[in-house]
């Protein structure tokens, strides 16, 4: 019973995820692409919950669908590209080759995944993926990377301010 429910929930999130991801690539207008990307991030957060990654799903909505997408939309509005600035879509040989290469890569990877011997996932306790469990890990085993991340974010803030200044 729970198996069936899990499969149904998986497809409920997976199909809109792929559709909205394709929408990001297909959209001509960056605003539509950004809106599709927000929907894709929400669907992905649902998949994360299915994988018992509660904290990461929460961060996905908070950081990706919230902060990063607001940044994207802000820049899109700031640039306010008109239709002629978006340019006429030209299909070039390089782009066709790139798409064909991408689809070929997907074929190889999907075949490799299909050949993996299926194995039931481990049984995990209710603690798995909670803020408490992941936080304990982050502040013990991954303390140095965590501190390095704070420095990275500081560098990114300073770098963004310097790059976007009037004269570079």
């Amino acid at each position: 019973m729970t198996d069936k429910a899990e499969i149904v929930v998986f497809w409920i999130f997976a199909v809109p995820l792929i559709v909205t991801a394709l929408g990001v690539v297909m959209a001509r207008n960056p605003v539509y692409a950004a809106m599709n990307l927000v929907a894709a991030f929400f669907c992905l957060a649902g998949i994360y919950v299915l994988l018992a990654a509660h904290l990461v799903a929460f961060l996905q909505v908070l950081v990706y669908a919230g902060a990063i997408m607001v940044l994207f939309l802000f820049v899109i509005m700031l640039l306010s590209l008109s239709d002629e600035e978006l340019g006429v879509p030209r299909v070039r040989a390089m782009q066709v080759i790139g798409a064909a290469g991408g689809i070929g890569l997907a074929w190889v990877v999907l075949n490799a995944i299909r050949s993996i011997a299926t194995q039931q996932p481990r049984i995990v306790g209710p603690e798995f993926g909670t803020v408490k469990a992941v936080g304990k890990l982050l502040f013990t085993q991954y303390l140095l990377p965590l501190e390095a991340t704070s420095v990275l974010l500081l560098v990114a803030i300073v770098g963004a301010v310097v790059v976007a200044k009037q004269r570079i």
């Binding site: 690539v25 950081v63 990706y64 820049v75 039931q120 982050l138 990275l152 974010l153 976007a164």
Partner: protein
Amino acid sequence: MLTVNYYLGLAAVLFTIGLCGVLIKRNALIVFMCIELMLNAANLTFLAFSRQYGNLSGHAIAFFVIAVAAAEAAVGLAIVIAIFRTRGTVNLDEVTTLRDS
């Protein structure tokens, strides 16, 4: 219980869509969004294996990936704004200052 293969397949499809977007699209903003899609596909793979082996390290790595993606988006979009201000375009084909020859 769904096996890990479903999630890996979904991540592979998502990564391919992002890769095709990077290769096909010429608008710098949409290329950035496609890079975000690829980062998310990597995150999904980390979390799928984390669930499969009952090891929480994948969650920590996913956390770092999200932080790095935030930093990348901030700096990248600042560069896009700087390019738009000096050249009036975000079309990647027209930004060729660093090209050889």
